[in-house]
Each structure stands twice: as C-alpha cells, then as structure tokens.
Symmetry: C2
Subunit: 193 residues, 2 copies
C-alpha cells in the first residue's frame, strides 16, 4: 500500500515516530474509483476523510433548482470529504465524485479520533491542517466578495494551473461562482491577450 505520500505530507507538519507511522498505515484503506464514481452522497453520513494518492475528486452541492456548486477540488496530496458531515457525523449534503480514475486512502472518523487521543502528534497534525484549511476558506470567501469574475479566473489559473487543466469547465465555473457560459467567454478573453 502506498502510504509514502501521505506520510510525507504529515511530515511537513509534525515528526511522527515510525511506530506512529505504522499505527496510521494500519488504519488506512485503499480504494480505486473510476471517473463518475461517488465517494459520498447527500443523506449518508460521511464516515471517512479521504486522501488522494493519484487522480482528482470534487465535492459539490446540488441546489433546490438543480444547479451544481463546487465546494472543493482535490488532486494528489489533498484531503477531501463532506467536512461538515464528517466532523459532526451528520448526514451529508454534498456529493464527492471522481473526475478521473482515482486512487485514494481513507481514514475512518473513529480511527482518526482514536489516533488523536492516543498520539498527540496526530492531534497536532489535524489541528494545523484544519487551521490552514480555515484560513484558506476565508481567503476564498474574500476573493469571491472583492473580485470580479474575470479576475477570479485569472488568479485561480495562476495559483492552480494544474486544476484548470484537469477539471471540466462547468465544474470550475461553479467553484469560481459564475456560469459555465461566462467562464467560457472569460477564458477566451484572457487567453487571447
């Protein structure tokens, strides 16, 4: 099982002993998804946090009017879930779906909590990750509040060119808070000049 990636990721935040590394590895389960397979569904409690080894996933809401709104993309080395469902262990509202063939590692909520209890370093790791995620979410909010659609696309394209390449445009549009048609026009405009 390929846990090197995830262990390296964690090593950027905390130094795990090899015993701790083993404890984690023992709890991770591998899973492979084909494009359009779902990892989570609205109405079902999200029991796992999912780490992407290879591939790309996206979480999104389908609103009452049928429109889709992307909450998150996850490519290699990112965690994804319906996070609210995961931490509260309440029914999910989001879909988590594979954008391409994807290999993931999953950690069950109960196991993650147990790890945190048993080993302070895991508690620390998940604290630091959550804090970073929160800061990121606030930045995104601010970007959407303060910048127009074109600027939002240009920025995102600078920051995450690899996601722009790999993800369907309608999904990116719904992440950036504009219609797919408008993103198409914006791309034409900006990539021309």
């Amino acid at each position: 099982m390929s846990t090197e990636g995830i262990l390296q990721n964690i090593a950027r935040y905390v130094d795990l002993t090899s015993w701790e590394q083993q404890a984690l590895s023992a709890l991770l389960s591998t899973r492979t998804l084909e494009k359009r397979d779902f990892l989570e569904h609205p109405g079902h409690v999200c029991h796992h946090q999912t780490y992407v080894v290879q591939g790309a996933l996206r979480s999104y809401l389908i609103a009452d009017d049928g429109s889709e709104h992307t909450v998150q993309f996850a490519i290699e080395d990112w965690w994804i879930s319906d996070f609210n469902s995961y931490i509260a262990q309440e029914p999910a509202t989001l879909h988590v779906e594979a954008i391409e063939t994807t290999q993931v590692l999953q950690l069950h909520f109960n196991d993650a909590e147990q790890l945190c209890r048993d080993y302070p370093r895991f508690e620390r790791y998940f604290r630091l990750v959550a804090q970073k995620a929160f800061a990121f979410a606030q930045k995104r909010m601010l970007t959407n509040l303060s910048m127009d659609a074109e600027t939002r696309f240009i920025r995102f394209n600078e920051l995450y060119p690899s996601i722009v390449q790999r993800v369907p445009q309608y999904a990116l549009a719904s992440y950036l808070g504009m219609s797919a048609e408008f993103l198409s026009k914006v791309r034409k405009r900006t990539l021309r000049s």
Copy 2:
C-alpha cells in the same frame, strides 16, 4: 479578570483540569476597546487570538478600489483575528475593529502554541474549534454561491438575529456579499411581509 466565559466555552469541547485552567488564565490579557478602536491593522503581524467577553468586533478587508468586505463578526463568546496572519505569523491584510465598546481577552500566538505543546487538551480544543470554523466557512461559501441576495439575508437574520440588530447595515451587506443600498431594499421587502 473574567475568565469564566472562556473556560465555559472550552468546557464544551474538552475537560480542563483546574491546573490547566490556571495555566490559561495566567496567559490571557484583558483589553477594553472603544467603538472604532482597532485591534489589528493591515501590514502588522497579528500576534493574538482575541476572545470577546462583551461587545462586538468585525474583521474586514479594504480592497484596492476602497470597498470594504467583512470577513467575520464576533460578539460575546466568539474568537476573532486576522486568522491567516495569526497562524502564519505574516503581515495581516485585514482590519479588526470594534463596532461598540468591547471587552476582550487576548492570547498570544507563542503562548497558545506553548499551551498546545504542554497540554494535549488545548491542542484538542484548538483542533475542534478550527475544524468547526472550517466547516462553517465552507457552509458560508456555499450559501453565497447557491442563494440569491434576499434569501441570504433572510437566512442570516434567522440564524443570527442578534448580529443583525447590533451591526451597521453597510457592514452586514458587505458580509453577505451585496451593496448596502440593496440590503436596505431587501430589508424593506422582507420585513414588510
């Protein structure tokens, strides 16, 4: 010094020993702000996390065109800061300003980190708080992506009526992602019916 509130808040997440409670209390500093006083300024590193004992604060960005965008409100029993600046210890981009006379408790970044190292329960507390904050931020993002201005106001008014009462309307508008003028019209419409 009035630390009962904050200790109760923490007790909702973890059980602190009285020794741990004392360790925290010793590190907290009280501060009183008048309306329009600033707690943080863009360009200065945000060294503290601030807990509101009594009063109301708001954090916001001033964009290049001079427009204000509210990131967060904090009333009694909430934490506030320029969170990105705080966790990365980088210069802030946000203002944190008192909306009314406000009494706060402040915890220095270094002290918070030390507490986390010394006492796993603090690490746990800050993990749980950060996770909840992240889930909240994702929900807010989704609300802004998927609902129109009027619905956003109605929802916010249902969830946080006390904030709607206490906060200037232009600040609320900039939090909800609409112009102050439009919020004024929306209010008229919805409060009439």
